[in-house]
């Protein structure tokens, strides 16, 4: 087994493990930190898939943006030491059965199809290709995405704004 391969499986296990912590952790703050590692794990997997630009984007947006947001959300919405509020969960059985449903579906799908291997292909840097694609074939979705982001920005500001008189 090559070193690369060992690293690959290690990252896989690391990702799954941290995702499991996200799911099962009692305290929301632990979940948040586990989520951080999950995201990093995903970034690693992206590297293995030859998606270097995406890996970087993943780190920047998820880790640098979304996760920070989530952490802010947690810190703003509750006192960290309020264990009761932090550890409140729905019935485990129900949740597990839900997960089970998904697992069954996925397992069925995975088992029903022949997922073929692939001859090794060179990994090329993708950044410039993505840039071209965005500005040519994907220009319209890209613009729409920008509008969406603007909308989300304004919406988020409006929603989160504290009304003047309340302060």
């Amino acid at each position: 087994m090559e070193m690369q391969e060992i690293l690959f499986y290690a990252i896989l296990a690391f990702t799954i493990f941290s995702a499991a912590i996200v799911a099962f952790a009692n305290k929301i703050i632990y979940s948040a930190f586990a989520l951080l590692f999950t995201f990093i794990g995903f970034a690693g997997l992206y590297v293995f898939l030859g998606a270097d630009f995406l890996a970087v984007t993943q780190i920047i947006i998820y880790v640098g943006g979304i996760l920070v947001l989530i952490l802010f959300g947690i810190l703003l919405t509750q006192k960290i030491y309020d264990l009761k509020a932090l550890a409140a969960h729905n019935p485990l059985f129900l949740s597990l059965s839900g997960g089970l449903f998904v697992a069954i579906i996925l397992a069925v799908i995975l088992s029903k199809n022949p997922w073929f291997r692939l001859v090794d292909k060179a990994l090329n840097p993708t950044t410039s290709a993505i840039g071209k694609a965005i500005l040519t074939d994907y220009l319209l979705p890209f613009e729409i995405a920008s509008v969406l982001l603007l909308g989300a920005l304004i919406g988020a500001v409006y929603l989160a704004r504290v009304e003047g008189k309340k302060k």
Binding site: I16, V22, A23, I28, A51, A88, H89, G99, G155, A156
Partner: protein, 101 residues
């Protein structure tokens, strides 16, 4: 690492965990995390398929849009959560059921 299956299995497990998280957590932020997990697993699938099936960049581009979407969604969702917290001093999604009755 040069085969599709490990990626798909990983994505499947994380997806399952994401769904589980969505259902399991009462905390709205927790639910949001679950959603992020689901989105990430889907991203992984897209990129994996792009690499092993499509040989092109389409999957990666869709992933980029998903990331954009996820960012927007997270921002809005957190704003809503903060609002609910302000109004009801809770982020417990089971407590928020005004639309019922």
């Amino acid at each position: 690492m040069n085969s599709l299956l490990p990626y798909l299995i990983t994505a499947g497990i994380v997806f399952t965990l994401g769904i589980f998280t969505i259902i399991y957590k009462k905390n709205a932020v927790g639910v949001l995390m679950g959603v992020e997990l689901v989105l990430n697993s889907v991203n992984l699938n897209f990129i994996a398929f792009a690499r092993f099936v499509d040989y092109q960049l389409n999957g990666q581009l869709i992933s980029i849009f998903i990331i954009i979407l996820a960012a927007a969604e997270a921002a809005i969702a957190l704003a809503i959560i903060l609002n609910i917290y302000r109004l009801k001093t809770t982020v417990d999604v089971t407590q928020v059921s005004e639309m019922k009755n």
